[in-house]
């Protein structure tokens, strides 16, 4: 009896996200039909799917541009974010002196930077890459630095008393314990990177989903605009899932021990 109940609960657990997503679209469709919502204001999912099928070639092409610019920007953010995070987390002095600058830097809305990037690099993929980089860089730095800075002082004492050098402590303790923080931040950073790319594309680009949506909007093709949105959501969820998977695989211990990573 109980086994069956448990199995039912587990099945419900596994299928719930899918059911919820389907339900959302069904409700959307029903609301659009029942209240006869103007397709120019909010196209029903059926119309969006129609548009997706009709324009699948440009959608795919622009999706690909957005994907690769985001990944390049994100990749740069990982490389420089981890490097700076290690430097910042290494010493309290560096941490203290860089922190105000980084906070200030992060407070600037990245949209405001795009026009400058356009002047520097022209219209195209480069501003998108740099915007994606700028927006996803900060959470990585902060998380890596936090992972290092919150190392248990007693553990450091144990190792220092044994004659460990700073580098030993970093390699044996600091960096391994920072990994869950890093992977946690990657999930956040990849979604932010998409935001950066699309923001830049809507302002200054000749390709990419942001550009496609602006173009479609000015041609009053609302269902294509929404099709672009859906394509973006799919890309975002897919990349998030990839990094969530990597996180689970590579730092399983962090999910089991009491140490929880900040994301």
């Amino acid at each position: 009896m109980n086994g069956l109940r448990n199995r039912l609960i587990r099945t419900a657990d596994a299928t719930a996200p899918l059911l919820f997503t389907v339900a959302l679209f069904v409700i959307w469709e029903v609301v659009c039909r029942v209240f006869k919502v103007d397709p120019f204001i909010l196209p029903a999912p059926s119309r969006i799917v129609e548009a997706m099928i009709r324009y699948w070639q440009p959608l795919l092409r622009h999706s690909f541009v957005t994907l690769w610019t985001t990944m390049v920007g994100f990749g740069l953010a990982v490389v420089f974010g981890v490097a700076l995070g290690l430097v910042v987390g290494w010493s309290r002095t560096i941490y203290r002196s860089l922190y105000p600058v980084m906070i200030g830097f992060n407070t600037i809305p990245k949209v405001a930077v795009v026009p400058i990037l356009v002047i520097w690099f022209g219209i195209g993929e480069v501003p998108a890459i740099i915007t994606a980089f700028l927006i996803s860089f900060f959470p990585i730095v902060v998380n890596v630095a936090t992972g290092l800075a919150t190392m248990e002082p007693e553990l450091e004492d144990v190792l220092r008393a044994l004659g460990a050098r700073k580098l030993d402590i970093m390699l044996k303790v600091g960096i391994p314990r920072t990994l869950p923080y890093l992977y946690g931040s990657l999930k956040v950073a990849i979604t932010l990177a998409f935001v950066g790319t699309v923001v830049s594309e809507t302002i200054a680009a000749n390709a990419g989903l942001g550009y496609l949506m602006v173009q479609a909007g000015s041609n009053f093709q609302m269902s294509l605009v929404f099709a672009g949105l859906i394509a973006l959501a799919i890309e975002g969820i897919a990349m998030y899932a990839v990094f969530a998977y990597v996180e689970r695989k590579s730092t399983r211990w962090a999910f089991r021990s009491s140490m929880s990573a900040g994301a």
Binding site: E152, V158, R177
Partner: protein
Amino acid sequence: MTPFVNIYRVTLTYRGSPGSAGVLALQDNSLQVERGEFAAVVGPSGCGKSTLMKLVTGLVRPDAGRIAVDGKEVAGPVKIVGMAFQNPNMLPWRTVLDNVMLPLEIVQPHRSRLRKEKKAYREKAEALLATVGLAGFGDRYPWQLSGGMQQRVSLCRALIHEPELLMLDEPFGALDAFTREELWCVLRDLWHKLGFTVILVTHDLREATFLADTVHVMSARPGRIVESRRIDLPRPRDIAVTYEPAFTGIVHDLRGKIAEVRQQA
């Protein structure tokens, strides 16, 4: 003969932010521990007991006075020391065995030998785990172990490089009463077997009395040893000894002394 650990008239002030006076943690504090002796330091909280640990291990330098371990002045990290704290401080991404072997990756000459003689070292670590009742637990992860078991692993890690001096900072403070008494016996047996010198910082007077040869009572901040009491209960001591009048008498005396130094604060 000079004592194995000699803390002689040590004063230490923790400097806070520039401009503030700082905290006088220890003043004119002296403590001697013989080789192979089990010493316990008890005192009210905040009396600088943990500071004493940092001084002996060379993590902090005194402002005045001298500290010598094994006849040599402490002027930096002392490698013949093992340490364990209230928090077991396990590395959750390492197995129990790899946690125990961590000091071997740091301390010479093990550090350079470890790669070549991995198997011998692993066997040694496993043997040590067996002596604390954790035979066969080497492949587990720390989160699969209870608090008491983790503390046993922590003791093993403190002892794997065969230190001559074991420094313990309230190692059993976070455990329940039964587990704590169990671990007293584990520590007692390890000490009998391996013959290292111990300085145990604790605020559990029964623990200090049961385990130690000498109990040192420290005053409130600024800390200094105000009384050293030899515990002459015959060894080996069984846990039953803690219910005998002689034992409770000593605990009672120590308690009175602590109450006295707390009043003065």
